[in-house]
C-alpha cells in the first residue's frame, strides 16, 4: 500500500508537470490525501485518549 501511495504521489507530480487539466491534478491530490488518511487510520490501532495520571 505504501509503495502504491508513493507511486500515486509521483503520478500526481507528473500530472502537474505536464499540461494536464486542473481538475485532474487536484482530483489526484485529493485521492492521494484520502489514501494517506486511510493508511494512517489503519495504523492507529489504539484510542486517542492519553489517560495520563501523573
Amino acid at each position: 500500500m505504501d509503495t502504491l501511495i508513493f507511486g500515486g504521489l509521483l503520478a500526481t507530480l507528473i500530472a502537474m508537470y505536464r499540461e494536464t487539466s486542473r481538475m485532474v491534478v487536484l482530483g489526484a491530490w485529493w485521492v492521494m490525501l484520502i489514501a494517506v488518511t486511510l493508511l494512517m487510520a489503519h495504523h492507529i490501532t489504539g484510542g486517542l485518549a492519553l489517560t495520563l495520571s501523573w
Partner: protein, 216 residues
C-alpha cells in the same frame, strides 16, 4: 496620443519584486519539505534505521504539502501568471496536508510520552524525527498563514516563468527535486515493504531482500 501599448511597461518586472514573494516561497517550501523528507531517507540509509509505518505516513503528508506549493509553481510555469484563486488553492492544499501531518506526528509523539520512554529511532539535534516533524508542520501552518495575510503585497498575478530566467529555473529545480525525493522514497519503502500490503509496526529489515532470499 497615448495608445494602450504605451501605457503598459515594456520590460518584464524584476523577478525579485515583493509581489513575487509567494512564488519564491512556493519554490523554497517545495524544496524545503522535499529536503526534510530526504533527511528521513538519509537517516534510513546512513544510520540503518527503518522507518515505522507512522514515520512513512508523515513523509507522505510532507510530500503532499510540497505538492500543494508545487501547484502554484506549476501554474506559473504553464501560464506565466498566478491568480489569487491559484495561490489560495495551493496554500489550501498545504494547510490540509500540514494539519494531517501534524496529527500523525502528534500521535507518534504521544506513543512515547511516558517518562523514561526511549522513543522510536535515533535523535537529531536532541529530538526524535517525529517531534521535529510536528514542529515543522506547525511552523508551516503559521508561515503560510502570515503569507496569506500579506497577500496584497506578496501575491502578484504576473509571474513570468514561461521563458528562461531565474523564476523558471527555480520552479523547475523545485519540481525536479521533489520528483527525485518521491521516487527515492517509493523505492525505499518498496524495499522495506516488499510485496506485502502494510509495513510491520517496527521494521527491522528490508523485507523485499529477505523474501527474495538475498539477505537474512
Amino acid at each position: 496620443m497615448a495608445t494602450i501599448e504605451s501605457l503598459l511597461p515594456e520590460s518584464t518586472p524584476e523577478a525579485a519584486q515583493p509581489g513575487k514573494v509567494q512564488y519564491w516561497f512556493a519554490c523554497l517550501f517545495t524544496v524545503g519539505w522535499a529536503g526534510v523528507a530526504s533527511g528521513g531517507l538519509l537517516q534510513q540509509f546512513a544510520r540503518g534505521e527503518h522507518p515505522c509505518p507512522l514515520c512513512v505516513v508523515q513523509r507522505m503528508f510532507m510530500l503532499l504539502a510540497a505538492l500543494g506549493a508545487a501547484y502554484i509553481i506549476r501554474t506559473a510555469l504553464l501560464r506565466g501568471s498566478v491568480t489569487g484563486r491559484h495561490y489560495m488553492t495551493g496554500w489550501g492544499l498545504v494547510l490540509v496536508a500540514a494539519t494531517g501531518g501534524s496529527f500523525a506526528a502528534w500521535r507518534q509523539t504521544t506513543l512515547h510520552i511516558l517518562p523514561g520512554a526511549k522513543g522510536y529511532g535515533g535523535e537529531v539535534f536532541g529530538l526524535h524525527l517525529y517531534v521535529w516533524a510536528l514542529i515543522l508542520f506547525q511552523v508551516s501552518v503559521v508561515v503560510v498563514g502570515i503569507l496569506l495575510a500579506c497577500s496584497h503585497a506578496t501575491a502578484d498575478r504576473g509571474v513570468p516563468a514561461t521563458g528562461p530566467g531565474p523564476l523558471r529555473a527555480a520552479g523547475l529545480f523545485a519540481l525536479w527535486f521533489l520528483g527525485l525525493v518521491i521516487a527515492v522514497s517509493m523505492v525505499a519503502v518498496f524495499l522495506d515493504e516488499g510485496f506485502h500490503w502494510f509495513l510491520p509496526d517496527a521494521p527491522d529489515k528490508y523485507r523485499f531482500f529477505h523474501d527474495a532470499g538475498i539477505l537474512d
